[in-house]
């Protein structure tokens, strides 16, 4: 990233360095779906933000869809002790 400032940088306090921004960007990039460990992509900040926004929108949609799905399932199936125990044992 060059020293060019974009509008979104105007709310940064003067003490923050470019390196800190790059570090935060890298951490954000690492949780995005296209992140591949070990490969250091030089992606622009704008691109990371864009992908983050579209990823967040898709996550929110997925939560909506899964909630609907679960809502239908709860009417038909039972999350009784057995199922809850299975889920707990898989996750905890």
């Amino acid at each position: 990233m060059s020293g060019r400032r974009s509008r979104s940088r105007q709310s940064i306090s003067p003490g923050i360095t470019d390196e800190q921004i790059n570090d935060l960007m890298a951490k954000l990039q690492a949780v995005l779906p296209e992140a591949r460990p070990g490969i250091n992509h030089r992606v622009s900040a704008a691109r990371v933000l864009q992908e983050t926004c579209s990823y967040l929108r898709s996550l929110h949609r997925e939560v909506d869809d899964l909630s609907e799905r679960l809502s239908e399932l709860l009417a038909m199936a039972d999350i009784g002790g057995a199922e809850a125990a299975i889920i707990r044992s898989l996750l905890m």
């Binding site: 864009q50 983050t52 996550l59 899964l66 809502s71 039972d78 889920i87």
Partner: protein
């Protein structure tokens, strides 16, 4: 997070005969975000913002991520993506840029599919959790992609 979410689901199920699919769906969604928010607690700005929204019960529906909003016509001269991001992350409005980046990464790690960080703490994300409930209740292979990613995450 899993225990809380399962308890909520169980409670919601008890009203299954008297509630509509839509209202249950809204409550499940709310339970999902609540589980996420309680899991992160007060450590994070996004979770504090979610908890505030969840606790503030008003006559009109609480705005949670993903609810469809009426689009306002905008003359877009320049897209400031950080501003867009601020609207998508709970508590994002008013955050400075650095804070926003850090909060977003944390929020995604708790809600999304990529969970390298959460793996260490042995907790899944909310999507993993909800997906897992679906898989266990319905039985595989209803949603093959989810089974693959769940087993990848567990394996």
């Amino acid at each position: 997070m899993a225990a809380r979410f399962l308890r909520c689901l169980s409670r919601i199920q008890q009203t299954a005969s008297s509630s509509s699919v839509a209202s249950r769906s809204r409550r499940i969604r709310r339970a999902a975000y609540a589980s996420m928010a309680y899991s992160a607690g007060h450590r994070r700005a996004w979770s504090r913002a979610l908890l505030r929204k969840l606790r503030c019960r008003r006559a009109r529906p609480v705005f949670l991520p993903g609810r469809p909003r009426i689009a306002r016509p905008r003359v877009v001269v320049e897209i400031d993506r950080a501003e867009v991001l601020r609207e998508l992350v709970p508590g994002g409005a008013g955050m400075d840029y650095c804070r926003l980046l850090g909060e977003t990464a944390d929020y995604i790690s708790l809600s999304g599919w990529g969970d390298e960080r959460r793996k260490k703490e042995e907790e899944g994300s909310v999507l993993h959790l909800a997906g897992l409930v679906v898989v266990v209740v319905v039985g595989p292979p209803t949603m093959p992609g989810m089974v693959v990613s769940c087993s990848q995450r567990l394996g």
